[in-house]
Symmetry: C2
Subunit: 332 residues, 2 copies
């Protein structure tokens, strides 16, 4: 997909709470320099801490894209957002959305975009054509975040590792595979929206040949142990041909998201990722664990990370509490 | 997808040789009762042994669908086929094709179908919406054919097992996952055309809950060891939740189709299929091997099957030479 142009104006709509504006928070947290300001509508109950910027003001100050950083209860585009979205287009901004509803499916938005020659980015969908995977090795280093489940911190972990490598002046690029990651970084592929035949090929396209010391930090999806999505996870693993992987884990979960299957052991995820990943990269290795300890006290979190570190003899991080230093140490 | 209505009139076009009409041969071989006759154009260099039936005659005798059983050099629909295809529509027949080009993308065909209210089946594509996989067990028995590679006899083996079970009056249904299988059986899903998020769900839909003694014999795709397609294979495995699987193998191949990776050992395919398949069916087991011995003499073929049988302690068949009796024995 084409790069989504920055700077962004982050649209918060009439968000009912902070959680509804999770995408906007993520963008502002990870890419503050891409963000010019926030745009609220009457009734908005969240504030992400950026300056309030109107559409007219944003356009004057060079905003390139209005990014929908909010989700309503139905996961759709609310009808009463449409006039504001159209006003942004008329002021010269592109629109970007990670929602299921396509922007282009709303006649007023499509017409405005056509009339003003603006782009509409529906990052949850892809019309891009890919080749099937070749399985051939390519230069550059790659790290993939994998998980014991969906929604176990794979995007956050990848972004934290990229941030730590960049802070050390090491060449590193976050590669997004889901809608929020794409909006954060301005590019990527919603890999679960790709036709299955082309998933490995899309992953190869996403993390192309690069300098031998450059790290692509690839956002993982699903889990090899999730009965709904393991095929997506495997295609992404084979196409990414990672040199390194990090297992992300949510310790309080008992069953996998949306199904009744129990969570796998971290050890089983390491073993299976190694076994399957060797097909396209015989040097694949696990370089650490990333654990979401948000439900634990500071002391309990420290104990858990220490215990897992002894058990697995690997660096163990909670990227929210302490960043990704221990894993970056292994990569640099 | 909707069932493709039989009886078929098989369109051979101007096939350059038997291989170009492989699909027509497959349909006539496996579903002779679905076939009313064949339709050649001038220059056709193949004959599948069915009566020659004109469009007018076919319509009179009750033909419901003209099935394109031929592929031209480009894998497209030849321009000079179009008048004949339109004539079939005008005579009241539906059209079915397994080619990449969509029938509906050809204006004359689309217009004729709309005017006469006929259906166009592009079985390589799917616009059907599926749920994500649930991973829940469902009644009925299922067998999946898997392989050491793509194009290793998975469709043929599944059809041979279905035929043998039916000959024994056992309830069994072939479930097609590729275009030729769909045209043969009149229904199914081109699983590699499904958006990756929904592959396991589509496989669940394809082999739904059934009588406890009924066997779904599911056509496998790709290979867990193929770097381009393993994700498709895994989603199909998880959604199919097979009780039994058969490993299909082409003994003369050294590298996997389209890539430079070596063929895996049969033992590795058994082990990995067991390990991954247990996620949705802990009772999964390998019930046999199916080997394509067409390049070997009768004696060498017999020796190979016997040697593999001793090595793996499993029934080993070549379904072309000898049918699927030895595997059906294990299932009944």
């Amino acid at each position: 997909m084409t790069e989504i142009a920055a700077p962004y104006l982050l649209f918060l709509g009439d968000a009912s709470d902070d959680l509804a504006a999770k995408t906007a928070f993520g963008i502002a947290h990870w890419r503050p320099l891409r963000c010019l300001g926030q745009l609220q509508m009457p009734g908005c109950k969240t504030d992400i801490g950026l300056p309030d910027v109107s559409i007219a003001e944003g356009a004057t100050r060079g905003a390139r894209t209005l990014v929908i950083g909010v989700v309503n209860a139905g996961g759709t585009i609310s009808e009463h957002w449409v006039p504001t979205l159209c006003a942004a287009i008329e002021a010269g901004l592109d629109l970007a959305s990670g929602l299921h509803t396509r922007l282009s499916s709303i006649p007023a938005i499509r017409t405005a975009a056509e009339r003003h020659g603006r782009k509409l980015f529906d990052v949850r969908h892809t019309d891009q054509l890919f080749s099937t995977g070749s399985g051939e090795r390519r230069p550059g280093k790659r790290l993939l975040t994998v998980g014991t489940d969906c929604a176990a911190g794979k995007k956050y972990t990848a972004l934290a590792i990229e941030a730590e490598l960049r802070a050390r002046m090491r060449p590193a690029t976050f590669r997004a595979t889901g809608q929020t990651g794409i909006l954060i970084s301005g590019g990527g592929i919603a890999i679960d929206a790709v036709v299955s035949d082309f998933v490995a090929g899309a992953a190869e396209w996403l993390s192309p040949a690069n300098d031998p010391l450059h790290w692509d930090i690839i956002e993982g999806q699903g889990s090899l142990f999730h009965p709904s999505y393991a095929g997506v996870t495997l295609g992404l693993l084979h196409g990414s041909q990672p040199d390194a992987f990090v297992v992300c884990h949510e310790p309080n979960r008992r069953t996998m998201r949306g199904v009744s299957h129990p969570l796998p052991e971290i050890r089983d995820v390491i073993d299976l990722t190694m076994r399957l990943g060797r097909l396209t990269n015989p040097q694949i290795r696990c370089v650490g664990l990333s654990v979401n300890t948000s439900a634990l006290s500071e002391g309990a979190a420290r104990d858990l990370l220490a215990r897992l570190g002894r058990e697995y003899e690997l660096p163990v991080i909670d990227p929210v509490r302490s960043g990704a230093r221990a894993i970056a140490d292994v990569l640099t």
